[in-house]
């Protein structure tokens, strides 16, 4: 017997915890956003302020470019890996998907290993005869952040693309080939539309993650101006709680919307990731 009473009992614990520690705080945050000098107008004012607008746009540009780059790379490699078979394929797949759960702080540090003052690239440059002043150091700029975001986006999208590529109907490709299409045409007209749902879903997740990512920027610090860092410094350095709250809510709303759109566009099968 499915009594409503029992259903409520089962749902109650999670709902209580959620209400107390998420819904209530969110509502408080919303109120705090309006507690600053401009009151409720702050929510609109923030969108006109050049500094915040600039950081919002650079975050948008960064997230967008990382997403496009990741999707291109993962489309090629994901499809390839799901079809090809060679001796060290399991190893390659494992290496490409293991970094999934590395926190942003660790990824930032790994970027320093690559592009920091004593990173691989800098040391290679020095070995080839450069002096310390002109060493190629990209870790502490937007380039470093881009590399870092790429680092944690690739494993995620790779998995999704591979899973979808496994399910593609090879007969369609056979048919295209027998009709005389080149390998490139087959890839463009048959395979690509086939993995499109995976690309859209993982692209949305990649975009949302990059918009809200903080740990990497925090580790690389100094010259970087992305929205999560602005929120953090407004709170910790300027004690500007109202602005931090307003910016947080706008950012949260944007990422939530992107994820919802992705789920509705492709169905829960593929977007079960976030």
């Amino acid at each position: 017997m499915r009594t409503v009473g029992w259903t409520r009992v089962f749902l109650a614990p999670a709902l209580t915890v959620f209400a107390a520690f998420f819904l209530v705080p969110l509502a408080r945050l919303f109120a705090v956003g309006a507690a600053g000098p401009s009151g409720w107008a702050a929510y609109v004012e923030v969108l006109h302020n050049t500094r915040y607008l600039q950081s919002f746009l650079s975050t948008l540009a960064l997230a967008g470019s990382v997403t496009i780059c990741t999707l291109c790379l993962c489309a090629v490699c994901g499809v390839y890996l799901s079809r090809a078979s060679f001796a060290f394929k399991p190893l390659l797949t494992a290496v490409l998907t293991l970094p999934l759960a590395f926190p942003g702080v660790v990824v930032g540090f790994l970027v320093i290993m690559l592009g920091g003052r004593q990173g691989v690239v800098a040391q290679a440059g020095q070995a080839l005869g450069g002096d310390p002043g002109s060493a190629v150091v990209f870790a502490y700029s937007m380039t470093g952040l881009f590399v870092g975001y790429l680092y944690f986006s690739i494993p995620r999208s790779m998995l999704t693309v591979m899973a979808t590529a496994d399910k593609l109907d090879r007969d369609l490709e056979e048919a295209a080939r027998t009709l005389g299409a080149s390998a490139f045409a087959v890839a463009r007209d048959v395979i690509l539309p086939g993995i499109r749902p995976a690309l859209v879903a993982s692209g949305a997740i990649c975009f949302a993650t990059a918009m809200g990512a903080f740990g990497t920027a925090f580790t690389l610090a100094t010259k970087i101006n992305v929205l999560p860092m602005v929120i953090y410094s407004e709170f910790t350095l300027q004690a500007n709680l109202a602005i931090a709250a307003v910016l947080s809510l706008w950012l949260g709303l944007l990422t939530w919307l992107v994820l919802i759109l992705a789920r509705s566009a492709t169905g829960s099968a593929v977007a079960a990731a976030a």
Binding site: D131, P132, G133, S134, T222, T236, L237, A239
Partner: protein
Amino acid sequence: MERRDFVQVAGVAAISLGSGSLLAQQSRAVCYNCPPEWADWGGMLRLLAKDLNLQVPPDNKNSGQALAALVAEKAKPVADVVYLGGQVGPQAREAGVLEAFKPSRWNEIPAGQKDPEGFWFAIHSGTLGFFVNRTALGKRPLPKGWNDLLKPDYQGLVGYLNPGSAAVGQVGVIAVNLALGGSYERLDPGIGYFKKLQANKPIVPTQTSYARVLSGEIPILLDYDFNAYRAQYKDGAPTTFVIPEEGSLQLPYVMGLVRNSPNPEQGRRLLDFVLSDAGQRHWANAFLRPVIAQAMSAEVRGRFLPDEDYRRAQPVDVVRLAASAGTIAKRYQAEVA
């Protein structure tokens, strides 16, 4: 094991751990800006645990971050005491985050090194200069003054803490400024110098970077004599300290009790201890100039650079620097960063 038993055990474990931590709170205190690698706070924290049975966790915030944290937490402070660069003391008093407290040795602290009402007081001071790792410099000569650092020889080798938030960073700006003929109010020479320095691609960390000089990552750091001497004599590193020939500054570092802090009694014990004989001797042995001057032994004094070098370093006017600290930070962020 039945699910119910499991939940019970977990619950008991959680409660006992929780209450355990509450009990431990009785001999704890929180210090903002007590970095273990700066001025040998690591040693002082161990001393506090040993002699006072007081547990104080290390904290790597710099002066600016510490002040900002105090302001953000004003409604419900987390810290009990705070350690700040001299010029940040008056700023903290103005922000209303400190509480007046005159430690037991109040009268032994010279007049210019404490707030008249007791909101902050110096515990030791240091002189700003170049903290240099000779090995990392390779064949290049040791820089002798501020103008040397602008030479392309030192490209990529110079570092300084961010004047936007670190007290030592701001002292660097004002030291150069005064050495090049500016004043506490006229900051153009100092800001201009840092603008020129950018051509040499300097490294600008935000927090203590003692370890990075030792490892060679930052060969020349604008830092205090005590950090440099500690590296040279205690850690046996190939480092050296240079007081710039154009002139430099001495800055007192101050401490204060946080207003409405969670453990005020422990905070007061801590502040009394850093001024006690044992405390001051610790600072002296870590190559700081203790505020209670007789705590420094002749042996330690012998390891400092000769007195004539130190004549080039003037004591900072803490109040005047406090007034222009905000401008320094803003102008640096706007014009240099």
